[in-house]
């Protein structure tokens, strides 16, 4: 036990004493925060219509009723033009000086009212609308026009309504539920990947790196038990990977509102108080899942690292492991309900399902605990294998 602590304290001294290593670990977090925070507003300003913009809308033969409702809706006057001005208006839309051109047939109101789909032998009256999809203001004006025209069309032959004056259009899902759903589908994969990538660089350095540089051999001729070395390495890597993963996760969570655009619908979602969504049992089980799956990941990566002769080789060897982690993570996004208990015994998959279950607040504690215990079992097996590997001269000293 004392030896395990000695090994751990050396690993921590190695990590925290090396500014370069700390930087390399928190760099992804800083980058994620910076990129998301920059990308979000940039994307919104690129694709969102300008709030102060007064749309310039041209119309040929516009019926008064439609002209008025457009003017009401977007606070602008529709400019009536003749057919001779069509080309000029199109030119202006093309060069982004105008936003919309609507061409109505003459006597549109009457024609539309008289039109009966069952008796008519000619096609319905047609409105032509020109707009520019690369200009957000024009795109927005087009959308408004479509909406108003749709509403106008249904008002002409109103047989029934759906959800008139019903709050939220009848969607009974609470903001919390909606939030929980999004989180449940995305977060397990993200957490798994954060933990994995946090662990990856550290384990390669701590195991393959030491092996390659011959410093592991120095430990191997000391009376230190191989088991103590394996446990010390796994535990210290787990603590450090947890910190690294936590920093990256924090950066992502903090920058998500920026990415989604604060103030909008998504921004409101993130304002939903998370503490109200999950209770203390949820948190405790989640912590248990994260810690146990972390030990499993560390054990897996440590074994790959110990097998590899060079850090470069270990990087390549770890790629298939990364794919496994991704596949397990993605399985959480397509989960349909909760699988049978036996699936919770599968490494990684069981943990993803557990986390998904906890996040969506639909889980059986028994299944989650089974997943955690199996994680610990697999991690223990991993530790045993690593001990054997430290004992094997083929693995440690073959060139």
């Amino acid at each position: 036990m004392k030896n395990i602590l000695t090994i751990m304290s050396k690993e921590f001294a190695r990590f925290f004493g090396d500014r370069r290593m700390i930087m390399m670990t928190i760099m992804p977090a800083i980058l994620i925060y910076a990129i998301y925070s920059f990308m979000g507003p940039a994307m919104h300003s690129a694709f969102a219509p300008d709030a102060d913009h007064t749309p310039r809308i041209y119309a040929v033969n516009a019926p008064e009723s439609i002209g008025q409702s457009i003017e009401q809706y977007i606070q602008t006057r529709v400019i009536g033009i003749n057919e001779s001005g069509i080309e000029e208006a199109k030119e202006k839309i093309n060069s982004k000086q105008a936003d919309l051109l609507m061409i109505f047939p003459i006597g549109f109101d009457d024609a539309a009212l008289a039109y009966d789909v069952h008796t008519a032998d000619s096609p319905a009256p047609n409105i032509t609308i020109y707009y520019n999809s690369t200009e957000p203001n024009s795109q927005n004006a087009f959308r408004v026009a479509l909406h108003l025209l749709d509403a106008y069309e249904s008002s002409l032959a109103n047989k029934f309504d759906i959800n008139r004056n019903i709050e939220n259009n009848g969607d009974m899902a609470s903001t919390e539920d909606f939030m929980a759903n999004i989180v449940a589908s995305m977060l397990p994969m993200m957490l798994l990947i954060f933990l994995y990538s946090g662990c990856m660089g550290l384990a390669l350095e701590s195991i393959t790196g030491e092996k390659e540089r011959g410093t592991l051999a120095t430990l191997l001729v000391s009376p230190l038990k191989r088991r103590e070395l394996a446990i010390g390495k796994i535990l210290s890597l787990a603590v450090l990977s947890f910190l690294a993963g936590a920093v990256t996760a924090a950066a992502t969570i903090l920058s998500l509102p920026n990415l989604m655009g604060s103030g909008g619908e998504a921004g409101d979602l993130f304002d939903a108080n998370i503490t109200e969504i999950y209770n203390i049992t949820d948190y405790a089980l989640l912590a248990f899942v994260i810690l146990s799956v972390l030990l499993l990941l560390v054990a897996m990566i440590s074994i790959v690292s110990a097998f590899s002769k060079t850090v470069k080789e270990a990087g390549q060897a770890a790629a298939p492991l990364m794919i496994l982690v991704m596949v397990a993570g993605i399985s959480g996004m397509f989960g349909t309900g909760q699988p049978d208990t036996v699936y919770f015994m599968l490494p990684l998959y069981g943990s993803v399902q557990s986390m998904g279950g906890i996040f969506s607040r639909e889980y059986s504690s028994l299944n989650v605990i089974i997943a955690c215990l199996f994680n610990l079992l697999y991690a223990g097996l991993g530790g045993f294998v690593l001990t054997k590997m430290f004992n094997s001269e083929k693995v440690m000293f073959s060139r």
């Binding site: 000695t6 001294a13 190695r14 090396d18 430990l219 000293f397």
Partner: protein
């Protein structure tokens, strides 16, 4: 007189073969799938003597010492260090010996001071005793001048001195040094050889491997000459050098072995 001395290290028929890769087979123009590095090696070392393993490069000296230090396991045979088998009780053996070889490196990131403390803890040395020993050894080898410099920034000699001190952090009774003066300048080499003599005076047993004849003549009480993994001669330096200098003896033996090998091939 030697009969009365206590045998502290006993190697019995140590054998070690390594697999040859196909590339290596081609390179050496052979169809053999394995190469015998150490072939039925037996010898004894007595308490408080310096025993030299002498041989050309590739003779199997380092492999033999690595087996004694429990870093690798023999295919056949066994060795007993202070009565402990290297095969069945490697952990206990490791606590008894100090092993120095170029293959064992110190982490570049840490300072000699940190590494000394770390290995003292791994060996469960009482902190006060470890501190006192550190002061003594660091001042003897001049390590106190660079005790807080990272290993990465040390010269070869400084690194070797640090490695040496750390290999005996637990004050072992049996010390196995593989080519301890390799790559050192004459001054540093002298510090090391003087220290070996000093350790012997303290009653410690030292096994050194080397290909430097003068070192063996000057330092060792007894020596064994290894060629192609086999122990060819093993005797006291006095007996070995009764007629000729050790270097001449070695060449005679080497020529004879080569002849026998050729004869065998024919």
């Amino acid at each position: 007189m030697q009969k009365r001395m206590k045998v502290i290290l006993k190697a019995e028929g140590l054998c070690k073969t390594f697999k040859l890769s196909q590339k290596q087979q081609k390179l050496q123009n052979t169809k053999q799938k394995t190469i015998t590095a150490v072939d039925n090696l037996s010898f004894e070392a007595y308490e408080s003597e310096i025993y030299g393993l002498l041989g050309p490069n590739g003779a199997g000296k380092t492999t033999a010492l690595r087996m004694l230090a429990t870093l690798i396991k023999p295919d056949k045979g066994d060795a007993f260090i202070d009565g402990l088998s290297i095969k069945t009780e490697p952990e206990k053996v490791r606590a008894k010996i100090g092993f120095l070889t170029s293959e064992l490196k110190l982490e570049d990131f840490f300072t000699p001071n940190y590494l000394y403390d770390f290995f003292a803890k791994i060996h469960h040395i009482d902190q006060n005793i470890a501190e006192a020993r550190k002061r003594e050894l660091f001042s003897k080898f001049g390590i106190d001048e660079f005790a807080e410099v990272k290993v990465a920034n040390l010269s070869t000699g400084m690194k070797q001195k640090t490695s040496l001190v750390i290999s005996i952090v637990h004050d072992p009774n049996i010390i196995i040094f593989d080519e301890p003066t390799n790559g050192l300048d004459v001054l540093t080499a002298r510090v090391v050889t003087d220290f070996l003599t000093e350790l012997k005076a303290q009653g410690k047993t030292i096994i050194v491997s080397t290909h430097i004849f003068s070192l063996v003549e000057k330092l060792c009480d007894r020596a064994g000459i290894i060629i192609d993994g086999k122990m060819i001669v093993c005797d006291t330096i006095e007996n070995l050098t009764a007629d000729k200098p050790l270097e001449d003896i070695f060449f005679d033996i080497y020529a004879k072995t080569a002849e026998e090998k050729e004869g065998g091939l024919r």
